[in-house]
C-alpha cells in the first residue's frame, strides 16, 4: 500500500446504511475484482479495489461495513467509523460516496447529514429509484443537492443508468481535490446524542416535503382518481413518507405468521442444513478420490523414501484435507447468500431471537451456528455480524460443539461398526440422534457458560435486537456467486495453511524416527507391502511414543495407545482419525473394500496387556461421545484466537470441551458396562 501513498492515488470510500445498495454500487465500480483487508487488530473487514479501468478514474475504492449512524455503539462499529476518519493503511478518504435508498430517504438521510456536518467530501448516490417510480414518485436531484449542500446523483443498480453522471462528478471532484481540506474534518459531536439525532430527523422531514415529486405531473387525471390520490397523499403525509412495500407485507403475512412462520422457518433451515450434506457429498467424494489417486500415483512412481512420503502423505493428503471441505463451504455460503439477498435471513434471526436470548445468545447468532455444521472456521468468522461483544464471544465459544462435517466420516465408521449388518436403517437413526444430541448439548453448554459469563467475557453490554427487515426481492445470482467465491477463497487461505502445516507436523511425528522397517514381505503385492511398512513405522514412531505416554489416561475409558495415537492425529483434522486407525490396525489391502477390512480388523483388535476385546459396544459408543464434545481441530483454535483477540477463549474452549469429552466418554463407557453392555 505504500506505493499508493507515494503516487497519491485518491481514496474513495463507500459508506451507507445496511440495505442501501452499497454493495451493488461497489460491484459495479470494481467489476467484482476485490480483495479483503482486515482492519489491524480487529475483525472489521473491508473490500478494496481499483476502480475499473474502463471508467478512466485512477482511484482506490474502499467498501466499509454498513452503518446506521456516525455515533458508534459496539467496538466493531467504532472501528468502522474510525476508519472513515483515517484508515491505518489507506489514510483519510478524499471522497465519500454515500448510498441512500430513495424509498427510505426518511431514515437513510441521517448518515449523510452527519457526514456532511463532520466536514467530509460527500457525494450522495440515490439508489432504488425504479422501485420509487413504481409508487408514482421521484426524487429531485437538484433540490436534494441544494438542501444538503452536496452533490446528489441517481444511479440505477440494475440498468446502470446514471453511472455516467456519477463518474463525471467523481472526476471533477478529483480535479478539485486541492480545494478540499482534509484537516477540516472534525470528530462528529457525540455529546447529547439523542437530541442531535432528533434534530436531524426534524430537518430531514422538512427536506422530504420539498424533494419528493409525483412522477407524471402533467398526466391528465379525472376527478375520481384525483380524489383518491389526494386521499393517499394525505395518509402518506401523516405517515411522513411511505407505507412498507405491499408485496413484502403480503409475504410476511405467511412467512412471519405467528404459527406457520415458525414452521416454515424450521423447514427452510432444515433444507439449508441437509443441502450442505446432500449437494456437497458427490463433490466431496470426487475431491477425496482425486487426492487419494494422486497420493498413490506418487507412491507408485517414485522410489520409496522419506521424501516420497513427505510429498504423498504429508503435502498431498494435507492439501486434500483442506480442499475436501470446499464444496460444502461453497454450497453453505451460496444458500445463505441467496437467503440473505432475498431478505429472509433477517426474518429468521427475528423468529429465533427469543429462544436464543434465553441462553445468552442473540437472533444474529443463528447463522454462525448453522454454518458450524459445515465447518467451524467460516462459522466463527460469520459471528462478526453480532454487534454485542458478549453475545458474539459466547456464540464463538459454542460453535465447536456444532457437529461439523469432519466428524461425519468418523461417525460413519463407528456407526457401521456398532450396528448389525442386516439393520443398516438403524445407522440413519443413530446419526440423526447424534446431531440432535449435539444441538441439545450446545444449548446446555451455552446456558452454563452464560452463567459464568462475567468471569469469562469481560465485556458487559446491554443486550439488544433491533434489525431492519428488508423488502423482499429476487436474489441477484451473479453477486451472490461472486461473494460466495470470495468467501470460499478466504477459507482456503485462512484455514488452509494451518491445516496443511499441522498435517506436515503430524506426518513427521508418525513417520520418524523408524524410517525403514525390516519386515518379511514375501508374497505380498507392492501396495500391501507399503501398508505393512507404514504401520510398522507408525508403531515405533514419535506419535506412538506419545500414544503410549497417554495410555494411562486412555485406560479408564477402555481404550489403548493405538486409539490414543489416532485421537492425536485427529487434531490436524478430525477425519484423519479414520485413516490413522487404518494405519495403526495394519489394514493391509488397498482395494475398495477398505472400510470392511478396517471394520474386521477393529473387531479382532484386543487390548495388548489384558487380551480383552478393544472395540466393544461400550467403547465405540464412548468414542462417538468423545467426538461430539472434543475440540480436536487446531485450525478452529487458531481462528478462535484471531477472532476473539486473545488466547483466553481458545484455551478455555480446548480445556473445557476436551475434558468434557473425556468425562462424558468415561460416563458412557462405564455406565454402559455397569448396565451389562460390553
Amino acid at each position: 500500500m505504500k506505493t499508493n501513498v507515494d503516487v497519491q492515488i485518491p481514496l474513495i470510500t463507500l459508506v451507507g446504511p445496511p440495505n442501501s445498495g452499497k454493495t451493488t454500487l461497489f460491484n459495479i465500480l470494481s467489476g467484482k475484482n476485490y480483495k479483503t483487508v482486515n482492519y489491524p487488530g480487529s475483525t472489521v473487514e473491508y473490500y478494496t479495489s481499483r476502480i475499473l479501468s474502463r471508467y478512466n478514474i485512477n482511484a482506490e475504492l474502499l467498501d466499509s461495513p454498513g452503518i446506521v449512524s456516525l455515533i458508534p455503539e459496539s467496538p466493531d462499529e467504532k472501528v468502522a467509523v474510525d476508519s472513515l476518519y483515517s484508515h491505518p493503511k489507506l489514510g483519510v478518504p478524499d471522497i465519500l460516496l454515500t448510498t441512500v435508498d430513495s424509498c427510505q430517504l426518511s431514515r437513510h438521510l441521517l448518515l449523510p447529514k452527519q457526514l456532511i456536518s463532520a466536514g467530509f467530501n460527500v457525494v450522495v448516490v440515490l439508489t432504488m429509484t425504479d422501485i420509487l417510480a413504481k409508487r408514482g414518485k421521484k426524487v429531485s436531484e437538484s433540490k436534494l443537492s441544494k438542501e444538503l449542500n452536496c452533490d446528489v446523483v441517481i444511479v440505477n443498480g440494475r440498468s446502470k443508468k446514471g453511472l455516467e453522471n456519477l463518474l463525471e462528478i467523481i472526476n471533477s471532484k478529483i480535479d478539485r481535490l486541492n480545494e478540499f481540506d482534509k484537516n477540516k474534518i472534525t470528530a462528529y459531536n457525540s455529546g447529547e446524542n439523542n437530541k442531535t439525532s432528533l434534530g436531524i430527523f426534524y430537518e430531514i422531514e422538512e427536506i422530504l416535503k420539498k424533494v419528493y415529486e409525483p412522477l407524471n405531473p402533467d398526466k391528465k387525471i379525472d376527478l375520481v382518481s384525483a380524489n383518491k390520490e389526494l386521499k393517499v397523499l394525505k395518509e402518506e403525509f401523516s405517515n411522513d413518507g411511505f407505507s412498507p412495500d405491499e408485496l413484502t407485507l403480503k409475504i410476511d403475512r405467511i412467512l412471519l405468521h405467528r404459527f406457520w412462520g415458525f414452521v416454515i422457518f424450521l423447514l427452510v433451515m432444515g433444507l439449508t442444513f441437509t443441502s450442505i450434506f446432500w449437494l456437497a457429498q458427490p463433490l466431496m467424494i470426487l475431491v477425496d478420490e482425486l487426492f487419494t489417486d494422486l497420493n498413490s500415483l506418487v507412491v507408485q512412481n517414485f522410489k520409496p523414501g522419506w521424501f516420497t512420503y513427505l510429498v504423498s502423505d504429508g503435502i498431498i493428503s494435507g492439501t486434500g484435507s483442506v480442499l475436501v471441505f470446499v464444496p460444502q463451504i461453497f454450497i453453505l455460503f451460496l444458500v445463505l447468500g441467496l437467503l440473505e439477498d432475498s431478505g429472509y435471513l433477517a426474518r429468521g434471526a427475528m423468529l429465533i431471537d427469543k429462544p436464543l436470548s434465553k441462553i445468552g445468545l442473540n437472533g444474529r447468532s443463528f447463522v454462525p451456528m448453522i454454518s458450524g455444521y459445515a465447518c467451524a472456521i467460516p462459522a466463527i468468522i460469520a459471528a462478526r455480524t453480532i454487534p454485542n461483544r458478549k453475545e458474539r464471544l459466547l456464540t464463538i465459544f459454542i460453535i465447536p460443539l456444532m457437529s461439523c462435517s469432519a466428524r461425519l466420516p468418523v461417525y460413519a465408521l463407528l456407526i457401521a461398526y456398532l450396528i448389525p449388518k442386516d439393520k443398516s436403517w438403524l445407522g440413519g437413526i443413530i446419526l440423526g440422534g447424534i446431531y440432535l444430541f449435539s444441538i441439545l448439548t450446545s444449548v446446555v453448554v451455552a446456558f452454563v457458560i452464560n452463567k459464568f459469563r462475567k468471569k469469562i467475557f469481560t465485556a458487559e453490554e446491554s443486550s439488544s435486537f433491533i434489525l431492519e427487515l428488508p423488502t423482499y426481492k429476487l436474489p441477484k445470482l451473479s453477486s451472490v456467486i461472486s461473494h460466495t467465491y470470495n468467501s470460499s477463497k478466504q477459507y482456503i487461505f485462512r484455514a488452509g495453511p494451518i491445516i496443511l502445516g499441522f498435517s506436515l507436523v503430524l506426518w513427521f511425528l508418525t513417520y520418524f524416527p523408524h524410517i525403514s522397517p525390516q519386515i518379511e514381505t514375501n508374497g505380498m503385492s507392492l501396495g500391501q507391502k507399503q501398508n505393512v511398512e507404514r504401520s510398522e513405522r507408525l508403531e515405533k514412531s514419535y506419535a506412538a511414543d506419545l500414544g503410549k505416554f497417554i495410555e494411562p489416561i486412555m485406560h479408564p475409558i477402555g481404550m489403548d495407545w493405538r486409539i490414543g495415537v489416532s485421537l492425536i492425529s485427529a487434531f490436524a483434522a478430525r477425519e484423519v482419525f479414520v485413516s490413522s486407525l487404518a494405519l495403526t490396525f495394519k489394514v493391509t489391502t488397498d482395494d475398495d473394500q477398505s472400510q470392511n477390512t478396517l471394520l474386521n480388523s477393529l473387531r479382532e483388535a484386543k487390548i495388548q496387556s489384558t487380551g480383552e476385546k478393544l472395540f466393544t459396544t461400550a467403547t465405540t459408543a464412548g468414542l462417538i461421545v468423545f467426538f461430539i464434545f472434543a475440540l480436536q481441530c487446531l485450525s478452529t483454535v487458531a481462528v478462535s484466537r484471531k477472532e476473539t483477540g486473545g488466547w483466553k477463549i481458545p484455551i478455555l474452549q480446548v480445556l473445557i470441551f476436551t475434558s468434557l469429552a473425556y468425562i462424558m466418554t468415561f460416563i458412557t463407557v462405564n455406565g454402559l458396562r455397569f448396565f451389562g453392555v460390553q
Binding site: D252, R253, F465, E468
Partner: protein, 73 residues
C-alpha cells in the same frame, strides 16, 4: 401511558417520546423512531417477542423490552 410494546396486531400509534434513559434509545432513534411518527404493529414472532413494527415505510424487528421505551400518544 401506552408503549409500542403494547400494540395489538395492525394497530397504529403515534410516538410521543422516546425514553432516553434506556440504553437502546440512541439506536431506536437512529432507526427513525422519533416523536410524531406513525408506527404500526405488523407481525409478532411465535413467542410474541420480538415484534415487527413499520416506521417511515420500513419494517423493523425489535425486542419488546426495547419497544417499551417508545412511548405513544
Amino acid at each position: 401511558m401506552r408503549t409500542a410494546a403494547e400494540l395489538n396486531y395492525g394497530e397504529i400509534g403515534i410516538i410521543s417520546e422516546i425514553d432516553s434513559s434506556h440504553p437502546s434509545s440512541k439506536r431506536i432513534i437512529e432507526h427513525g423512531f422519533t416523536p410524531g411518527q406513525t408506527i404500526e404493529l405488523i407481525n409478532k414472532s411465535i413467542f410474541n417477542d420480538p415484534i415487527a413494527v413499520s416506521v417511515r415505510g420500513t419494517l423493523i424487528a425489535i425486542r419488546k423490552c426495547e419497544a417499551g421505551c417508545i412511548k405513544l400518544k
